[in-house]
Amino acid sequence: MTAEGIAARFRLGWGRFTLDVDLALPGRGVTVLFGRSGSGKTTLLRCIAGLERAPGGRLVVDGEVWQDENRWLPTHERPVGYVFQEASLFAHLSVMGNLQYGLRRANASRAISLEHAIELLGIGHLLDRKPDRLSGGERQRVGIARALAVSPRLLLMDEPLSSLDAARKSEILRYIERLREELKIPIIYVSHAIDEVTRLADKLVLISDGRVTGMGSVQELTSRLDLRSQIGRFEGGAIIDARVVSQDLATGIAKLAFDGGELMTTDVDALAGERVRVRIRARDVSIALDCPKNISVLNCLPGVVAEIGQDGGSSADVRMKVGNTSIIARITRHSIRNLRLEPGVEVFALVKAVSLDRHSVGFS
């Protein structure tokens, strides 16, 4: 057993739902628990926090036993910070009162000062307000700051963005990105939104029907064809790490470098030299046997067919290796037959568009 990291084993059944997991999670970076609603990812998070009792379970965090046959630490003795889906601020206290509630009770060393938490989440101007005088985004920021103010050794976040609109979402995402940059505590983040995974995840754990169906780096899991149905067929595709090489302000086109080649794209909200994460949706990728001239598609990447997915009816997923990077294309079976595609065939991946998410720091 390694001293750093989280070892969790829980078995829990309510009626037809059962949770049955045995996991080793890293002791740093952002681990996203990803799955559909009802898959058990929130239950798993609640077990880690001690909000749910899973008899016979075992939980060891950084070598310290939080739960086993003889021991069960109640929630208030676990050094966690928990951000709930709705901010769940105390209605009878001001913002400052909410922040101080945990602060006054935490006797741990102050790894994160209250001032730092307030500054990180940008809520300095809200301290005197009552929760019912805050917007949804402000409330969630206070909720996050309140969880940080107890100086947790582990931050648990349960879909903190799900009750917010798109604009608020991206605002809060920026704050959460700052957390992972500036705080050296591991974060376990529950989500069912692929764009949150792209932006935040260092490690991805796929959960389906109360079981872990895949675990690994984001790049690894999003390039696996057998997991495509769980990650989202329509929006899904390979996620790769890249670096901004140059930005042409006149044309609005940016050049990105990744392990395997270069990608041209537009509307990059990042400066040259910055690291970004790119999601290439499988439906935006075509396959050609040679690189066509006179075509509007900007990217023509040479690669080799690695794998052809079996399910999916008239369409199929094709995984190609472009250098060391996997790219997935969703094309018709008809085309696969016409082009005689099979593993080992040299092809060109035509990438029409990429969806790009900032991801400035990586732990890889």
Binding site: G50, H76, Y82, F84, A91, Y101, R105, R146, A147
Partner: protein, 219 residues
Amino acid sequence: MQALWLTIRLAGIVTLILLLVGTPIAWGLARAKSWWKVPVGALVALPLVLPPSVLGFYLLLAMGPHGPVGRLTESLGIAALPFTFWGLVVASVFYSLPFMVQPLQTAFESIGERPLEVAATLRASPMDAFFTVAVPLALPGFITASVLTFAHTVGEFGVVLMIGGNVPGVTRVASVQVYDHVEALEFMQAHRLSLVMLLFSFVVLLALYAWRPAARRVG
């Protein structure tokens, strides 16, 4: 005047006792998922439907020299409770119990599980969370329950008659005094006391209803 003062003293003491006794019962009923929640809830509501004379009769038996409570008080060297002020207090606690427990239970239930879970993740023990989160959030419920309990104790008659009889300055509360006045054909005195009671009841309810909309925001 003596009867009025006695009534207020009785109602005040009963309200204080019920705040102490009723709060844990209401908390248990609001949070329990166990099977006993239903029978206990029914038991607490019993005084709402039972004729006060029936309740008074059983309490009289229990507190009398041959009842279990009576034997206990006797072995402790305390005089028997019936026909004393403290006998009235004990009886009124039972009689007014649902008026304390039910509003509190509703208030606790409407808070929900979440604020207490939040408190736990912020290092508050269950007891700490109860006093610093549940009680302040349920404050409107506490006020409603206390007012209703006080007012209801002021208005009791049947139980008082069974347990307390009619001892001036000891158990003769306002409602019994009115009855006495009428029996003695002293309609003027009955009028005066009744009017005071009427105004009191109306003012209490008026205050409660006027204040309620503000309370609705909480929770």
